[in-house]
């Protein structure tokens, strides 16, 4: 009698424990039948992914992030193996320094020639060994011209007391610090304790005026009418402008920076061939146009630009006219990044 009790208990115990593991078990997947894509939110359209899967039969597992640091953290944690990531230029620099990326095999990507020469040989990857440029853009000012009748041309115009509580900004300490540095005419890539002390009063003033911090979708608060001004990504501004012409995009006169997001393949990628195939796929002009239609950033693909609708090509947020003064972020090292984050988060928490 006691035996059966024993058996029953042990079976129950094992079943209960085992059911936890079974749920997480996974079949071994044939190599290169899957693609683990890790990209920015609102950057890779669903139609592109579906089109790729339909054509090649490779399933795409999509995961998103809204800051480079988030991407790095998850990549380094190592729990999931990503085949493609989309770092910005300064993150790419850091990743190359730390030996995290594998070299791209140009022979597997015949469409590589579609990229305009000005987007190749960039400082973060001078020999085009590790990255393929995805999209570039700028960070600038969006103005709801119905609510704001004054002309806005610079950061100083935006961060005035009369616009208190009517501003949305990117939720990114380095961005906020760089705007303060631009306002004071400092080099945005030179960061040390003295510089931070100098820009501290400016940042304090900015933080006291900003209402919403949003890197994922800053256009939401602008369309909802909760804010009238914003310092946002150019793609968000372009979407706002094509939805309603009252949203004007302005590049600040003090100077701003452009960001260059590229595709890169981490060393730990499980499906590098699928990654190369995907890069080749999105470099096709007709696919690249799809991406631009959904997320109107500055497209580096020359062939795709020829296929754009005139309204898209004229969108001042996507393709800024003239030759604006544009910087790029360089890698400033972990310590300096943490110092900026420390200062900005302290100012934000005391507000």
């Amino acid at each position: 009698m006691k035996w059966s009790k024993w058996i029953r208990a042990s079976v129950t115990g094992v079943l209960a424990f085992g059911s936890v593991l079974v749920g997480t078990g996974r079949d071994a997947v044939a190599q290169n039948k899957e693609l683990n894509l890790f990209c920015w939110t609102e950057y890779v359209p669903k139609e592109v992914i579906d089109g790729f899967t339909k054509e090649t039969g490779i399933t795409v597992n999509l995961e998103e992030y809204d800051s480079n640091e988030q991407m790095l953290t998850k990549l380094l944690a190592g729990a999931a193996k990503y085949d493609l990531v989309q770092p910005s230029e300064y993150t790419t620099e850091a990743m190359v320094k730390q030996n995290l990326l594998q070299e791209i095999d140009a022979s597997k990507i015949p469409n590589l020639g579609n990229i305009l020469p000005e987007f190749r040989g960039l400082p973060h990857d001078p020999e085009n060994k590790f990255t393929v440029t995805w999209m570039t853009g700028t960070v600038g000012i969006v103005v709801n011209t119905e609510k704001v009748t004054e002309p806005i041309t610079s950061f100083k115009d935006v961060f005035q007391d009369k616009y208190k509580g009517r501003i949305v900004a990117l939720d990114d300490s380095r961005e906020i610090a760089s705007w303060a540095m631009a306002m004071q005419g400092l080099d945005i890539n030179k960061v040390d304790a003295d510089v931070l002390d100098k820009i501290r009063p400016t940042v304090e003033k900015m933080v006291s005026l900003i209402k919403v911090y949003d890197s994922t979708s800053p256009k939401t608060s602008l369309t909802n009418g909760d804010v009238d001004l914003g310092v946002v990504w150019s793609g968000e501004a372009a979407i706002l402008w094509s939805g309603n012409k009252k949203f004007k995009y302005v590049l600040p006169s003090e100077g701003t920076h452009r960001f260059i997001d590229s595709f890169a393949i981490p060393k730990t990628a499980a499906n590098p061939d699928a990654a190369h195939a995907f890069i080749n796929y999105i470099l096709r002009p007709e696919v690249s146009v799809l991406i631009s239609e959904n997320f109107p950033y500055t497209n580096p693909n020359g062939e795709a630009r020829k296929l754009l609708a005139p309204e898209q090509r004229d969108n001042p947020a996507s393709y800024p006219p003239g030759n604006p003064k544009l910087d790029t972020f360089r890698d400033i090292g972990g310590r300096a990044t943490r110092m900026i984050e420390d200062m900005v988060s302290e100012i934000r928490s005391s507000n």
Binding site: M1, W6, N224, S345
Partner: protein
Amino acid sequence: MTPTVALDASNAQRRRPGRVGWLLMVPLAAWLGLFVVAPTAIMFVYSFLRAGELPGQVDWVFTFDNYKQVFDPIRLYKTVLVVGTDTALTAGAFGLLVFANGYVGSWLAYMRGRWSAGWWMLLGSTAGAVGLLIRTGLVGGVTSTVLVLVVAGVLAGVCGHFWESLRPRWMSLVILIVLFSFTGWVHVADSPDIQRYLRTLVRSVNYAAITTVVCLSAGYPVAYFIGRAQEKNRNLLLMLVMVPFWTSFLIRTYAWLTILSEEGLLNALLVDATGVLDSPLRILYTPLAVIIGLTYTYLPFMILPIYGSVEKLDNSLVEAAFDLGASPVRAFQQVIIPLTQPGIVAGVLLVFIPSIGMFAISDLMGGGSVPMIGNTIQTQFIGKAGDWPLGAALGITLLVMFVLCYFLLNRRESLGE
């Protein structure tokens, strides 16, 4: 009918789990080990390391720097001084008010009859509300002032009224008063003397306390009503309380964005449709929005435990109170409230502690400008800072704080009763 498992008399006396019992405990032990002990141990180890170059990397160097950053000794001393004196003042003032309310009220009821006690209650409640308002200064604008006035007034009066019933359990009253006094900390948070992380912590405790107080005052009547409803209606009512849980938590929070935003439903109703207000209310992306979000999310957590207590209420005790000449209000305060106290305590704990650490709501509804301690820790792990050791140190600090509170509370309860 003989039971299938024969209960041995000697077994019952032994009261120790046999082989069967130990085996059945294996899943629980494994779960606790994997998901509670192991992560805490990892966090503990990380809190003594130093952050490396890239986010998430660490240098294996033993250092106390993280804790030094959290507990800057000089500012910690100033923090304790400022916060301590503020709490003492508020608690003292509020306690006096509750005492006055209750004592004078019951004396008036005894000497002059119930009607004069009622007027006194009103006066005392208003005084309590005004005092609390001056103390908090949390929100501006007419509507929010009225809101705070109403809530605070009701609570002050109620506390005074229940002074008599809570008197034997004076510890509970003290806890209630201290909880109330947390709501006055908000201006303390602006003092530059306070260390940055502790300032965020104070603010988080503040919002959590306000949420708990609002949930308690809104949730108790609902739970009481459901508990005393007819058997056939009770299940339906409970289901209505739990229906929001069937939708994703994020979707519910986003729904609030649609309601509270400047061109959202609430403002459309007040400004466009009825014309009650001239300019739209700016509630979203302020601390008030965060508290609304927190209250909405945690209200069912307050209702359900109290409902559990109310359901177990022995009606014969209430009838006995009536038979002995108690008025309905008296019966409520002296019989029902003490009997449902376990439910109230459970509800308060279930709302207060999670809302301190909640970061999703303060991120979405506060728009990143109302940081709570949960957001600070989240930034260290996922955000730009990438300083895992500092995040771990903050996490361990919170954990130790909760464990201390729990032990203090337990000890007090066993002493007070």
